[in-house]
């Protein structure tokens, strides 16, 4: 290949490499090529295409919500999604849990030297698809390249901006005794999909991640329930158990769960049994928990079930005035147990 700029013949020409090089972070021609060939074709829009030092946004009057999240998942790709989809859904969902309509995202990417471009392209394609699905535009971005061994392929940070609703303001401290506790779908899928892959575990079926944008569900709930949509949470790291504990603590209420009502898919349940894990503590990326007054529970469930993502939604418990700060599960056999926060990572048991 001949380089047009110099006319010299190079045995390993720049640009034909199929992997990220340190030079792609140099700020020079390779950096420009990285943006031109990989990022902008997939993520470009009138705001991003300005390539200014900062994005200029015009927003309607009112309050905005801002949230940031960093994604370090390993492996980068897993059944049901990849780090790109996750980086959009994670931040967009955080905005949605405030009742905010997601509008804009910024994207910071740390690439490890040696990352195959085909992986980067798949990640960016998924990221673009997820952003389009969520109705958000990537308006600002940054890329850095670090030496091989200093990152797990790639890390992504996204910061999101969303428009808050004037009166519908769900918050963790607003749960009140008598509220119905609703969940929008099956739990434990993301965590088990990643863990099965990471540990090289093979099951008869492949568990797929549930990574998804929850905004459509929230919009439905917002319309159906209004200001009485008291609490929304997406139980990501730490799973449903941790999210409910945080709400119980913030609202100074107890939460009573019904084990028989918990939507644990058969494959997730079986994988958890095998590894000695509890699906209540396994991460989700496309499930929300909502708390609404019991009188509005049916309306809320109907709103959730109107969307395919919420087809499996159901009521799993009730907010109570007893045992404030504590989540108590009524087991399928009729016993009770406390569902506490874990002191650290969930560790597989020996027996």
């Amino acid at each position: 290949m001949t380089l047009a700029t110099s006319g010299l013949t190079c045995p390993a020409p720049i640009g034909s490499n199929d992997r990220v090089q340190l030079g792609h972070g140099s700020g020079g021609k390779l950096s420009a090529a990285l943006l031109r060939d990989h990022f902008l074709p997939r993520l470009g829009n009138p705001i991003l295409d300005q390539l200014g030092d900062a994005a200029v946004l015009s927003l309607p009057t009112g309050e905005i919500a801002v949230s940031t999240d960093t994604f370090v998942v390993r492996p980068l790709e897993f059944p049901g999604g990849n780090i790109g989809a996750l980086a959009v859904h994670g931040t967009v969902n955080d905005l949605a849990m405030m009742g905010a309509e997601p509008r804009y995202l910024t994207l910071g990417v740390v690439l490890e030297e040696g990352l195959p471009f085909e992986v980067l392209d798949r990640v960016l394609a998924a990221l673009a698809e997820a952003a389009a699905g969520a109705g958000v535009a990537i308006v600002a971005g940054d890329t850095k390249v670090v030496e091989r061994g200093r990152a797990d392929g790639m890390y992504i940070n996204t910061t999101g901006v969303g428009l808050l609703h004037p009166v519908v303001r769900p918050a963790a401290h607003r749960a009140a005794p008598g509220d119905a506790v609703l969940v929008s779908g099956a739990i434990g899928r993301h965590g088990m999909a990643v863990m099965a892959l990471r540990e090289g575990l093979e099951f008869e079926t492949t568990i797929t991640s549930d990574t998804a944008c929850l905004w459509p569900l929230v919009r439905g709930l917002r319309d159906a329930v209004g200001p009485e949509l008291r609490v929304l949470r997406d139980p990501t790291r730490g799973g449903l158990a941790s999210a409910l504990n945080e709400i119980a603590a913030a609202s100074r209420v107890g939460i009573a769960l019904d084990e028989a009502a918990l939507p644990v898919p058969t494959d997730v349940g079986a994988a958890c049994e095998m590894l000695g894990l509890d699906p209540l503590y396994v991460a989700n990326e496309g499930v929300l928990v909502a708390m609404v007054p019991a009188t509005l529970a049916d309306a809320a469930l109907a709103a959730l079930q109107a969307h395919p993502l919420g087809a499996g939604s159901r009521r799993i418990g009730t907010v109570v005035s007893q045992h404030p700060g504590m989540v108590v599960l009524r087991t399928a056999l009729g016993g009770t147990r406390v569902v506490d926060l874990l002191p650290g990572d969930q560790l597989p048991r020996i027996c």
Partner: protein, 371 residues
């Protein structure tokens, strides 16, 4: 979910609870030996269902809880070595040694890996020929065959950079130690189903006869445990003391002969210290001389270490059933799952950790009713 849902059927459970309550003419005290059974009892709230009919004492059958401090400290020393990859089952990572745990060693740069099988550790050794891979071979007779297999395979394949830090214990001597204690309260045992899957139950026949104590080989699902308790209550009411098998879908009297024979070829019996309990003669397994090349203690010259356990920790009394966890002065204050003094507060199977959650809730219920 075949083989799971049928053993968790609420109707069957209710019927068994009724049968237990109807059969018991007094409150019987029995011990489930295995931590896996403790886990089910706590997770399903079975103690509450049984009410006054039966008091369950959580036995010393959690391998995480009884692994002695000396062995944990040796594990920590090995894991900190730059030439070592230390492989372990997951729940050993949080067990406190004298001054830290394996997670902290990992944070300081030690290569600590969680594996699900000792054969994975062997594969790790084959894949990292420039490193020493040490596997933490802990557990009861249940994990012994797989651990024996890893050592056997290592010798067969000639993997010189693989070794095991052995801290194996066996159930029958511990049961004798509990029964021999002057203040013993245990009137019947639920024997550990998975241990018996390997070993069968012939070892338990002399114990049942000598101490006149019913022993029921029991599985791990809620229905298994309730049925095991029912069998034991029936024996106690009838004045019988037999070894009975509830876990018929997995256990035979002779056990799994090839597994037993492999364990016997690789390990021999030895005295072993139990955390919180002390030394129990003939209760441990150590590598036979033919496999000394794979013994991490010899390979790395770890030698005899004696470590004093925190005086404040009453784990021994708890593991023997003398003290309920919440009766320990340190319970819930100086000893919590976040900052455990002793191992039973670490593992989710540990009696103290189980009580920490359950007890807090119960106390609040009482307060709630009183106010």
């Amino acid at each position: 979910m075949r083989y799971l849902s049928e053993y968790r059927d609420p109707e069957v459970a209710r019927s068994l609870v009724h049968q237990i309550r109807d059969t018991a003419t007094r409150r019987w005290v029995m011990m489930e030996v295995c931590g896996g059974q403790t886990h089910t009892i706590v997770k399903q709230g079975l103690g509450e269902l049984l009410g006054d009919a039966v008091e369950m004492i959580h036995g010393p059958g959690c391998p995480v809880c009884v692994t002695p401090l000396e062995q944990i400290d040796k594990a920590l020393a090995l894991a900190a070595r730059p030439d070592v990859i230390f492989a372990s089952f997951g729940d050993m990572l949080r067990v406190p040694g004298s001054d830290c745990d394996l997670q902290q060693v990992r944070a300081r740069g030690g290569a600590v890996r969680v594996v699900y099988s000792p054969l994975d550790a062997l594969a790790l050794a084959q894949g990292n020929p420039d490193k020493e891979v040490v596997f933490f071979a802990v557990g009861f007779e249940t994990t012994a065959p797989a651990n024996a297999m890893a050592v056997w395979r290592a010798r067969e394949l000639g993997v010189p950079n693989f070794s095991v830090l052995v801290s194996h214990v066996t159930v029958p001597p511990a049961m004798r130690a509990i029964l021999d204690a002057p203040d013993n309260r245990v009137q019947a045992f639920l024997a550990a189903g998975h241990v018996c899957t390997v070993m069968g139950w012939t070892e338990y026949e002399p114990i049942a006869a000598e101490y006149r104590v019913p022993i029921v080989v029991t599985g791990f699902e809620p229905i298994d445990i309730l049925e095991g308790i029912h069998f034991a209550v029936r024996q106690l009411e009838d004045g019988r003391h037999e070894v009975e098998n509830q876990y018929v879908r997995a256990v035979t009297r002779a056990g799994t002969v090839p597994a037993r024979s492999l364990v016997e070829q690789v390990f021999r019996l030895a005295d072993r210290k139990w955390r919180g309990i002390g030394e129990i003669p003939g209760s441990g397994l150590v590598l036979r001389d033919e496999f000394a090349a794979f013994d991490a203690e010899a390979k790395f010259g770890l030698g005899d270490v004696t470590v004093e356990e925190p005086a404040e920790c009453r784990a021994g009394d708890v593991l023997r059933g003398r003290l309920k966890p919440h009766q320990c002065p340190a319970f819930g204050s100086r000893c919590t799952p976040e900052h455990p003094l002793g191992a039973p507060m670490v593992s989710s199977e540990g009696a103290c950790a189980a009580y920490y959650n359950y007890g807090r809730f119960r106390e609040m219920e009482v307060v709630g009713r009183g106010s």
